[in-house]
């Protein structure tokens, strides 16, 4: 079987298109590359969706955590502590069994136990908490002069927030937010290793990598392939976030722009 044929068969295997049976023996390098790459679809889906939705909740969380009102501040503080203080792995397990018992009493929550929705909700809440903390830190380090200048121009409330506070917050938080995005994508590999089942063997990249490692007793081929894909994904993310960073800092003279310092040393 030629490599093009393999790509046609297995390129979209992780979303259920193409060949149904996974290869059972005599794995070629091409098969491993194709299937693990096919699994990346799920990693990108989980990461991108959680980032896109989590961003808004994170802004709300940061604003309410910085609020002087106790009734806004306390819930945000507790939410952030709950999701940052416990392992994502346990959160997945708890959420899955919670959804399972919810489904038993109310059948309308049927979709929650499948990974595409249930795991996405957990990732969304988790990244919102981590990002909320980053945004909160940025909110607190907005230069006092910026706010005073806005006041002097007669801005207040919503217009001050939208035109001064929010853009400055994003600009200050962006390098840390880039890191968070990278680690969110790494965290997506946990989905199918916690309780969420991979229905019809439609799993993510790590699911297929460990499938090959288990079948061949040889970890030295599939895991480096996985690493290759993830380093590629990380580079794409850094590039994309760098573009946004440039846009956010476009009004500053070149020398004063915040450099994207990447510290890729975190995990959850």
């Amino acid at each position: 079987m030629s490599c093009i044929q393999t790509i046609q068969d297995y390129g979209l295997r992780s979303i259920g298109l193409g060949e149904r049976l996974l290869p059972k023996s005599d794995f070629t390098l091409c098969e491993q590359f194709t299937l693990i790459g096919s699994g990346m679809i799920w990693n990108v889906y989980f990461g991108a969706m959680a980032l896109a939705t989590g961003f808004f909740l994170a802004t709300a969380l940061a604003v309410s955590k910085a609020s002087p009102n106790k009734w806004l501040r306390k819930p945000a503080e507790w939410f952030i502590f709950l999701f940052r203080g416990s392992p994502l792995f346990i959160q997945f397990f708890f959420a899955y069994f919670f959804f399972l018992s919810l489904k038993k009493t109310y059948p309308m929550f049927d979709g929650l136990t499948s990974a595409w929705l249930g795991a996405l909700i957990v990732l969304f809440l988790n990244t919102a908490a981590y990002t909320g903390e980053i945004f909160y830190g940025a909110l607190r380090s907005i230069p006092k002069g910026d706010i005073e200048a806005a006041d002097a121009y007669g801005m207040s409330g919503w217009s001050r927030f939208r035109r001064i506070v929010w853009p400055t917050m994003l600009r200050l938080a962006w390098p840390a937010y880039t890191n968070e995005a990278i680690f969110l994508f790494h965290a997506t590999t946990l989905v199918f290793f916690s309780a969420f089942p991979a229905w019809q063997q439609r799993g993510d990249a790590l699911y297929y990598a460990s499938y090959f490692a288990d079948k061949t007793f040889n970890p030295f081929v599939p895991y480096p392939i996985l690493a290759f894909y993830f380093i590629l994904l990380t580079l794409v993310l850094i590039w994309g976030f760098g573009l946004v960073n440039k846009h956010l800092n476009r009004h500053l003279p070149t020398a004063r722009r915040t450099k994207m310092k990447l510290r890729l040393n975190l995990a959850r």
Binding site: F81, L82, S86, L206, P219, Y223, L226, F230, L264, N265
Partner: protein
Amino acid sequence: MFSYCADPDTLGTFRWFSCYLTNGVHWSFYLSFIKVLALLAVTAPVALGFGFAGAMAARSHVPPLSWLGKAYIAIVRGVPDIAFFLFFVIALDQGFEWIRHKVLCPEWTDPIRQGNDFLVCQAAKLPLGTSPEWVHETYGFFLAVITFSIVFGAFAANVLFGGMRAVPHAQLETAEAYGMTRRQTFWRVLVPQMWVYALPGLSNLWMVLIKATPLLFLLGIEDIVYWARELGGTKTSKFTQYPHGDWRMWYFLFLLIFYLGMTRVSELGLERVMRRLAHGQATSAGELLRKETTA
């Protein structure tokens, strides 16, 4: 455990919980919490040692050594840590067996990798097929500790390398001006001062390490996640609800609270360490302490 547990009448009462929560399997569950704490207690210093060695190597002036250190730091970043956990457990096991195979069975000529199999001679098997069960479990735990140490050692090396570079350069120049050798400067000036710069990163790492402990489950250890799944579920869910319905949600809620408690205690502890280390340092935290005591 209690004498009244033998009486079937307790089944309907609330006292049943005191019997249920102290039965044999639950003691294994509680023991697995000790396993997690033991992993933390062993891994933290070993990983710090790995990290220190890695950072020293990365700072070295001998090019191959410095490349080695930098590669060690770089390789674990950018790739999901869970992939490394899954990788190292198999790779280390095969590595150990391969070395023993070479030493113990030199007359063996067949290739070790035959198709999809990894074959070593009987004497090289780790642990030996004849050894008791606790040896198997200890060996698995030992592999897990090494795996955690390698991965977190790389994270720690990165933090310590940054901490070493954050020490004001004037301090090192002064040491040199006093005629200290490179070695003396490193141990007497750089190392005592770098901790305060490295501590925020290290405390962050400790939090990450705590939150990585449930991954033991993926390494095949009977840890808290394993027991929570076992004990929470029903034995034969198709037919009966024996000994209870699906309680896995509550068991995992308990684990969630356990981890939140660990995080909170660590936060308070690390704050105290930070205060102690900041004492007398030329940082803003040290300055704040000085003002507090003099005011």
